[in-house]
């Protein structure tokens, strides 16, 4: 019986919505705004994480020197590089058909590239690597042209850079003091790799005056557990403190910091907006109670419970919040999902990524939207239970 009362009260509340359309619509819209703001920030953080997660493989070990766990600032002495290259066969490191270790010495040089003729330039990561470097990376496919070859000033560009800078195989561009020719283009599933330019290690070192320098060494592992063996061997072959992390860990660490920072901005901003929207919801629902005073008082006089008046008002608030939430999420999906953003990545170079409105993003933003309805509707719902029956019954309904 209580359910019947509540159901008819909810129906009465909802069917009277057109009487207060403007206020109700403004409440739904303000919820939509909060939801899409939070969804935007979370989608940015999630997109950044996905771009870096896509770049990292647990089967690739990254050896870093100089007491850092990032490529920038890392340095590995030549002697150590040599010692690594002659590690015995049973150490869990993968080799090619000829028995050579799948290993790539790498450095990253920030280079400036103009977006268009006379346009603003952006800093990109030019990665010098050994020939095995491209093979070492999982999920990378050469879509056009060929890989760089030793000696020539060839570069291979990530698909994102090709798109953003409108570059094609055969184009010549100036990076640093010399011109380079685009030899090929690769795709990496939208991951952070696609924001890099790859070239031959020796050529990069010669061009940018970094002779003998190695920032990191990439090694392919036979299985993820081999990383532990590698760490043990590193301690044996050199006294230089070296760090070995999996490529997955390296990129997860980078994404964790930046994504955390994005969320650190996003949540407080969305919460502040949510407080405003909750105040708006409170106002809207108070108006609703005021508008329905005679109806609430009438059914209460007939014997309906306070609880049914409470629940009907609360449900109205939650339904308006749900409408706003659905609208906000739909807007986020349409406007943000796949929208390209960029940031300064770990190597002080630009990294592009797509915003990702993933299910977890939608759940968090949706919950905040619902919370606005639940909190903003609670007090007015309480007010609905305290409608003065005596005065209301004399009012013209």
């Amino acid at each position: 019986m209580s359910f019947r009362q509540t159901r008819v009260m909810i129906r009465a509340a909802l069917t009277s919505l057109p009487r207060r359309l403007a206020l109700s619509a403004s409440m739904a819209l303000s919820v939509a705004l909060v939801v899409s703001t939070l969804a935007g920030f979370l989608a940015m953080a999630r997109g950044f994480e996905l771009a870096l997660a896509g770049a990292g493989s647990p089967l690739v070990a990254v050896v870093l020197g100089g007491g850092t766990n990032q490529e920038s600032g890392s340095a590995i002495p030549p002697g150590t590089v040599h010692a690594l290259s002659v590690l015995p066969a049973d150490t869990g490191l993968a080799r090619d058909a000829a028995g050579h270790l799948l290993m790539s010495r790498e450095i990253v040089v920030p280079v400036d590239l103009a977006e268009a003729e006379g346009g603003a330039s952006r800093t990109l990561a030019l990665r010098g690597m050994d020939a095995a470097g491209a093979v070492l990376r999982d999920g990378v496919t050469l879509t056009q042209g060929h890989l760089f070859s030793g000696g020539a000033r060839d570069i291979v560009i990530g698909a994102r850079i090709a798109r953003e800078f409108n570059l094609h195989v055969g184009d010549v561009l100036r990076l640093g003091p010399v011109d380079w020719t685009v030899a090929g283009e690769f795709a990496a599933g939208g991951s952070a790799f696609e924001s890099e330019l790859w070239a031959d290690l020796e050529t990069v070192r010669a061009t940018f005056d970094r002779q003998g320098e190695v920032q990191s060494v990439k090694l392919r592992l036979t299985d993820p557990a081999a990383l532990i063996t590698l760490r043990e061997n590193l301690a044996k072959i050199t006294e230089t403190p070296l760090t070995a992390v999996s490529e997955a860990e390296l990129y997860a660490g980078q994404s964790g910091r930046t994504a955390g920072l994005i969320r650190l901005f996003g949540w407080p901003l969305a919460c502040l907006m949510a407080i405003g929207a909750t105040a708006g919801a409170l106002n809207t629902m108070m108006s609703s109670v005021s508008d329905r005073t005679v109806e609430i008082a009438t059914v209460r006089a007939l014997g309906f419970s306070r609880f049914s008046a409470f629940l009907a008002t609360w449900v109205e608030a939650v339904i308006l919040a749900i409408i706003g939430t659905v609208l906000g999420l739909a807007l986020s999906l349409i406007a943000f999902n796949g929208w390209q953003a960029s940031t300064i990545g770990a190597n002080n170079a630009r990294m592009s990524f797509d915003l990702a409105v993933t299910p977890d993003v939608m759940v968090w933003a949706g919950l905040l939207g619902l919370l606005i309805g639940l909190i903003g509707g609670a007090l007015p719902a309480l007010a609905a239970t305290r409608v003065p029956l005596t005065a209301a019954l004399r009012a013209r309904g």
Binding site: M1, R4, Q5, V8, R11, A12, T15, S16, V294, E295, A297, T298, V299, R300, A301, L302, G303, F304, S305, R306, L389, T390, L393, R394, A395, R396, G397
Partner: protein
């Protein structure tokens, strides 16, 4: 009257629990006190009001504005509380009940007819009439049957699906009466039931109230400004400054 006979059968299908009727009047007010506090000032409405209404009576209460008519009706309806004294209806002491108990009591024992009908505009006539039945353990079918009977009784058969906004004042008040009697209460409280109606509609409503009193044995308490309306009651009580001044009995 045949209509009344056909009415009494379906309404009696789900009888309310039997109430042992105590000795004495059906409605008894003793030394009832009520005052309003407005801006730090206490305005006394009743300072010891007594009233006795036997079961089956039809009482009109008249009086100038501010005499306490509405306050009295609100207290009889249990939507306002007395400051002191006793208020008994049947064997229930309304003055001793909490808010929830009074709401439940209203649902089972009382129908209210409002001056401005107080119909929910978004519901159809049948849905408005059905509202009190939602508080009772009846199936949807039983509720529909009861609603159809009372709408027929008030002369609105065939208008079940019409919304109040499309009805005349007289028709709306008839829906209001149907809603008040659909759960077969013992007591009907009418708050200026003809106050918003033209003469012809008012007369039709009064005829109906008289019928409910004489044929269906409802006890009716009606607050009114309308002397014509008061004439339809068995007796009229005149209230002024919180006191009953005189009583007029209907001729015959």
């Amino acid at each position: 009257m045949s209509t009344a006979e056909t009415m009494s059968t379906p309404l009696a299908q789900t009888p309310l629990p039997d109430m042992p009727v105590p000795e004495g009047p059906y409605i008894a007010l003793e030394n009832l006190r009520k005052a309003y506090r407005i801006g730090g000032q206490t305005i006394p409405i009743f300072s010891g009001l007594d009233l006795a209404i036997p079961r089956g009576d039809f009482v009109a209460i008249m009086g100038p504005s501010g005499s306490g008519k509405s306050t009295l009706l609100n207290m009889l309806a249990g939507i306002d509380r007395a400051d002191g004294g006793t208020l008994r209806i049947g064997n229930s002491r309304l003055d001793q009940m909490g808010e929830g108990a009074r709401a439940a009591w209203r649902a089972h024992h009382m129908g209210i007819v409002f001056q401005f009908y107080n119909l929910l505009p978004m519901l159809t006539a049948a849905e408005n009439v059905e509202l009190p039945l939602l508080l009772k353990p009846l199936s949807a079918r039983e509720r529909r049957a009861r609603v159809a009977k009372v709408l027929d009784l008030v002369g609105l058969a065939g208008r079940e699906k019409q919304r109040p906004g499309l009805m005349s004042g007289g028709q709306q008040q008839r829906v209001g009466i149907a809603r008040a009697i659909v759960s077969d209460p013992d007591l009907l409280l009418c708050d200026e039931p003809t106050g918003d109606l033209d003469r012809a509609s008012a007369d039709a409503v009064l005829d109906m109230l008289r019928f409910l009193n004489t044929e269906m044995k409802k006890t009716i308490v009606m607050v009114t400004h309308d002397p014509q309306a008061a004439l339809q009651a068995r007796r009229t009580l005149h209230l002024d400054k919180g006191q009953f001044l005189e009583e007029t009995r209907a001729a015959g």
